[in-house]
Symmetry: C2
Subunit: 130 residues, 2 copies
């Protein structure tokens, strides 16, 4: 279910003709929301460690991402939790144990990121004059 056309032809969300659900501005702001959730120095790295559906403890993530500080790790996790991307599961134990995972919606980010990765790697080496 594609909302934007991917061709070089005229597209449906252009101002003037809006047969589709989106104008240039609504489409942009919708994607901006997505990009905002993905911004942040570490979010994608965290996400990729969580893809696959397994749960990881705070300390697991710390080990998996050596250069991250505790502050950044918790901050980015909490933001993604607030965004509905990651789940936070607290086990009331001594010592404490908290596991992080992905929501179903978070999992569904995977194909979109795949598209982005494919695009990024298709970058031509030499500048192409259109």
């Amino acid at each position: 279910m594609s909302q934007l056309t991917s061709t070089h032809e005229k597209v449906g969300y252009l101002p003037g003709s809006k047969p589709s659900t989106h104008t240039a501005f609504t489409a942009a702001s919708g994607i901006e929301n997505a990009v905002r959730m993905l911004e942040g120095r570490w979010k994608l790295v965290i996400l990729f460690n969580l893809f696959g559906g397994r749960l990881m403890r705070f300390s697991d993530l710390e080990r998996a991402i050596p250069d991250i500080s505790q502050k950044m790790l918790i901050q980015q996790l909490r933001q993604m939790e607030a965004d509905g991307i990651v789940t936070r599961l607290v086990h009331h134990q001594v010592p404490p144990k908290v596991e992080y995972g992905l929501t179903a919606w978070g999992q569904s980010l995977c194909p979109a990121l795949d598209a982005l990765l494919t695009w990024a790697e298709a970058r031509p080496a030499s500048p192409d004059a259109q």
Copy 2:
């Protein structure tokens, strides 16, 4: 040609088993490059005004995006030009005339953004405990 699996099953880029071309870190950094090019307050709005393959003058873009400052417009355009996403065509005239458009690679961003938009709009209203 998908490089990441989109299922909830085990995925190929996970540490330990790397039959695919990507580890969690190379995949993340590849996408980070893409996200970095899309960050910036106005880049997506500019992009959407350029999709469709038509050329737009500097002043056209200024009019199309009322709240943007000249500094921001030129800055984001130049960055995207450096990234190989937009083209810059200078007509040596009096008064000056410069037209901006998308490279072929820039055009090919469209489906990837579409995937992101579809994902963003699929966000569940209520928090879903996975």
